[in-house]
Symmetry: C2
Subunit: 340 residues, 2 copies
């Protein structure tokens, strides 16, 4: 099975420490012995035991991605696989591993919390869009474990990576205004999620700027799912909007179906713009005009920031400044709003 340092040392005729130095690229070892040791390593098929190494260094090179229960339900939305792919990609590059923890109803979250945060297996963790009132984040502070949240968080101490949700929502709404729409409805997300808040704010801001109505009836709350978007759109249709901004592409796809179900045409009767630019935005008919956010990049950035935080903490004590990053969004014009 697994050879040990001692065996390699014996085989190379040196001491254990020397082999260890070779493995960790320590400078002070003669080229001669280095070569000798390398050979022995090859020959034995030696691989360092990560667990033992972790015990000695107090570092595991394992990060955690924790998905709050409220978000686990949305896990099939392409957003998460994409973000996750970005995160694992970055981990691959940096030589880290990623433990994925979805909080589910079957296990009490306090137990999950303990297993995740206090096991000692994790160098740090990424919170996948923990909502404002999530007990997760306070818990992490209490535990003193390095973490990065995906999505902004009002607490000053929270490191996060976010996208310009508000700016994106403004672009989306402006686009519809530019096309001459007056009655522009919005399908929002759950009120306790900051992306939903910010996208709503961006919409309201533009509506207000142009002195357009944004009454209660023009705003419906979805849940970021396609079914939710469909239901929300059904409500909204009673108000006869000529355009809709959906806070996610999944909801936009649902809205498209609701609109069609009423015998209305897109974009002729109702124009629609989404948010995310997930793959299906290009496969809907008509293709979805949407706000692109660099989803994989978010995951990548989150792990890179986290590694920085971990390294920084190790280096400078707890003095490291809070790290934050807000990625830009982009308007992608396709067919669902008519030609501009």
């Amino acid at each position: 099975m697994s050879r040990t340092l001692d065996e390699v040392a014996k085989s190379a005729g040196v001491s254990r420490s020397t082999v260890s130095r070779v493995i960790n690229d320590h400078p002070s070892v003669s080229d001669e012995t280095r070569a000798k040791v390398q050979a022995a390593i090859e020959q034995c098929g030696y691989r360092p035991n990560a667990v033992a190494r972790s015990l000695a260094t107090n570092r595991t090179n394992i990060l955690g991605m924790v998905v709050p229960e409220s978000v686990t339900k949305l896990f099939t939305d392409p957003y998460f696989p994409l973000m996750l792919r970005g995160a694992t990609e970055a981990c691959n590059r940096r030589g880290y591993h990623l433990i994925l923890s979805l909080f589910t109803a079957s296990v009490e979250s306090s137990i999950m919390h303990d297993r995740i945060a206090r096991s000692g297996y994790l160098d740090g963790l990424i919170a996948a869009n923990a909502s404002l009132d999530d007990k997760l984040i306070p818990g992490l502070f209490a535990e003193g474990i390095p973490f990065v949240n995906i999505g902004r968080h009002p607490d000053d101490r929270v490191n996060y990576v976010d996208v310009d949700n508000r700016g994106g929502a403004r672009m989306a709404t402006e686009h519809l205004v530019r096309l001459g729409h007056k009655r522009i409805a919005m399908i929002g997300g759950p009120a306790d999620m900051t992306p939903a808040q910010d996208r709503l704010d961006g919409y309201l801001e533009v509506m207000s700027t142009h002195r357009l109505p944004a009454s209660k009836g023009l705003i419906a709350e979805g849940d970021f799912t396609e079914a939710g978007g469909r239901a929300a759109m059904l409500e909204l249709l009673a108000e006869n909007p000529t355009a809709v901004f959906a806070a996610s592409d999944s909801m936009a796809v649902g809205a498209v179906k609701a609109i069609r179900a009423q015998g209305l045409r897109i974009p002729d009767d109702v124009a629609i713009v989404g948010f995310d630019d997930i793959p299906s935005a290009r496969t809907v008919d008509p293709e979805l005009t949407t706000i692109r956010q660099p989803i994989e990049r978010i995951g990548q950035l989150a792990v890179e920031m986290l590694i920085n935080v971990i390294d920084g903490k190790a280096a400078e004590g707890n003095m490291a400044a809070t790290q934050r990053f807000v990625l830009p969004t982009e308007l992608i014009v396709r067919g669902s709003c008519g030609s501009s």
Copy 2:
């Protein structure tokens, strides 16, 4: 930070060993001291250090889910999030952690392989639909690390969990035959993936039984993506089929769009049945008749089997029998084939 066994022992006025026994529910410890130790544990806020424990026990309670590069591309298909959710769910229940490794182009797969299989961090791993010619599986045997594949594998020694792909494909095709269709086309998956093979075989079997044509022109190879399904359907339409069986719902959704793009109606002009029963099968218009496979259950079962394999190996040496499990599929009739 993290208290240690010694501190608890000192605080409780016993030896380290006794505290260890209490933690591991060892029987031989008096109720009196047990209570005393429990109290000390509470008071210190002690939590066992998982890494140290792993070094001593040679068990990490961490499983790996490894996704071959060919499959990483399909990672946004709802199949994977669902399967993953099932797997993490089972891990939660059993007190295991799950490391997710997506093989990507950015890091050479031999390096990834080493990191995954030889790090010592993993008690075992799940291969997510490794295809037949994937170097992954031979590598795992060479390494002697316990694993379970998702999807059947011809090698006798491979533990796997699979679904009755062939039976499902038969049901799908039979359903179309029952509805009176003669020219039934099929959109298959990549030839090197066993689910694709099996679904094709099921289709061919039924076509042959009913002496229906299954010529080259009636079979197109997709890639399990929506775009691929669309392209495949476009080819097939030249043959004027009256029905199509798509080997995945994603491809079926693409096919629906291709059919519509030709001005044809579903199910009137072309009936269609998919495979998977992912959430979007219920949100397409018309809703998709499909073959349901219990996707989350697959993930759950994979980790449970894997844990069995690991425990079995620990218990009986390498004598444990190969474990296999084939889950049933189910025909779900919705609107995309017309009424039966």
